[in-house]
């Protein structure tokens, strides 16, 4: 005779709570996996975007064409150069050195090269030299030398018509020309 099992032990069935827990775990797993996949995709997209931007940037930096100069470039540079020229200190030296016997008759200032030429009427050479000495005080040039230099002077005895000597108020005056350089660094056009 064989053994008779006759087993009526209840078959285990998951309860609703267990099923709910399993469903929740499954849902949470699906959501977590989805979030991870989505985040990885987003990171990959951002990385490719960054790589593309880097490539574009490097390519554009090497292929930039030089910027053409604007049509007003030359005029603007000349204006700035004239504006930066040393008008004021040049005139101030002339005014500070005014003395009897020496009379500036004309001032010619070329802002392009910064050269100022002043014609002087003077009574004699001593007065002219004193005048030069006075206007050179305190304004040496970049290398420490006197800024104003005598370019041209005419002898007092030259009375020939058309010479540089002139008759002013009954007195005979000689004509001399002095010159100085007032260069200044023009401001840059590039900001």
């Amino acid at each position: 005779m064989k053994r008779v099992e006759a087993q009526f032990k209840p078959v285990w069935r998951p309860t609703r709570m267990a099923l709910g827990g399993l469903a929740f775990l499954a849902l949470a797993t699906v959501v977590a996996v989805g979030v991870v996949v989505w985040e990885r995709g987003r990171i990959a997209s951002l990385q490719s975007r960054v790589a593309q931007l880097t490539t574009d940037r490097s390519a554009s930096s090497t292929q930039w064409a030089p910027r053409p100069a604007p049509p007003y470039d030359a005029s603007a540079r000349q204006f700035l150069r004239e504006r930066a020229a040393g008008w004021a200190p040049m005139l101030r030296t002339l005014e500070s050195g005014a003395m009897v016997g020496v009379t500036p008759t004309s001032v010619d200032f070329n802002a392009q090269d910064g050269v100022a030429r002043v014609r002087l009427a003077y009574v004699n050479s001593e007065v002219l030299l004193d005048y030069l000495e006075r206007i050179n005080e305190g304004v040496p040039d970049a290398r420490g030398r006197p800024r104003w230099v005598l370019v041209e002077a005419h002898d007092d005895n030259d009375r020939s018509p058309g010479s540089a000597t002139q008759l002013t108020e009954g007195r005979v005056q000689a004509i001399a020309t002095i010159q100085s350089v007032w260069l200044a660094e023009p401001p840059s056009l590039n900001r």
Binding site: M1, K2, R3, V4, E5, A6, Q7, F8, K9, P10, T15
Partner: protein, 237 residues
């Protein structure tokens, strides 16, 4: 009057008879909970049912059955007629009934549901829910493997299992599986016993009968307190 019992930790704790099996089940579940005493852990207990509750019968062969579920449905439908159980039944088939008859045990469906719901409500895990006569048969086969005729006399039923010794060895099988409930009196049981022995040609040493004493005395009844169940079987000729 139907009876049953339970064991905890391999030791028999109670065997009682109740008019209504559900009431007995509730009391056993309550006792198990008190004896277990560890609410954070489920109690693991065995539940034994008397022959009046779990009744065997021979089922089949039935041709045309396609699966186990269908076979169980057919057996459950036939169980009330063959066993005398009143309501719908749950069955346990020992073998496939398509080609040869097999032993089928029937249990009242409402009791089966109550066993399951009680376990769920009282946090009990049933390790076994088996008829007591099946456990007694295990013990008998353990002592005498050649057993061919086996009977269990209980307070509410007399269960008889017989295997014909003249049947072909190629197709061994049970010839008789039946429960008589209420239990037969002494004379009827003895007459049936002898008739079976003669009809199926069973030798004396292959015939075993187990007698379970009348319940109602708690732990002093069979099985003995602290012992495994069933503890004793006796041969009756």
């Amino acid at each position: 009057m139907r009876s049953g019992g339970w064991t905890l930790g391999g030791q028999t704790q109670a065997w009682e008879a109740h008019e209504v099996p559900g009431q007995g089940l509730e009391r056993w579940a309550r006792d198990i909970g008190q004896r277990h005493g560890r609410p954070w852990r489920k109690a693991r207990a065995d539940l034994w049912l008397s022959g009046g509750l779990a009744r065997p019968f021979l089922f089949g062969p039935v041709a045309g059955i396609k699966g186990w579920q269908e076979a169980e449905v057919v057996a459950a439908a036939a169980a009330p007629e063959w066993t005398g159980l009143a309501g719908p039944c749950r069955v346990h088939l020992e073998a496939w009934p398509g080609e040869a008859s097999t032993v089928c045990t029937a249990l009242d469906a409402s009791l089966s549901d109550a066993i399951e719901s009680t376990a769920r409500a009282c946090r009990i895990t049933w390790r076994n829910v088996r008829p007591r006569w099946a456990v007694a048969l295990d013990a008998a086969l353990g002592k005498r493997p050649s057993t061919a005729l086996f009977a269990v006399s209980e307070e509410d039923a007399f269960t008889l299992l017989c295997e014909s010794t003249s049947s072909s060895p190629a197709s061994p099988g049970m010839s008789v599986a039946a429960t008589y409930s209420p239990a037969l009196d002494e004379a009827e049981a003895r007459a049936l016993w002898h008739r079976m022995r003669i009809s199926f040609g069973v030798e004396d040493h292959d015939a075993v009968q187990a007698h379970v004493s009348t319940p109602g005395q708690g732990m002093s009844m069979l099985p003995e307190p602290g012992g495994s169940w069933p503890p004793a079987t006796g041969a009756m000729t």
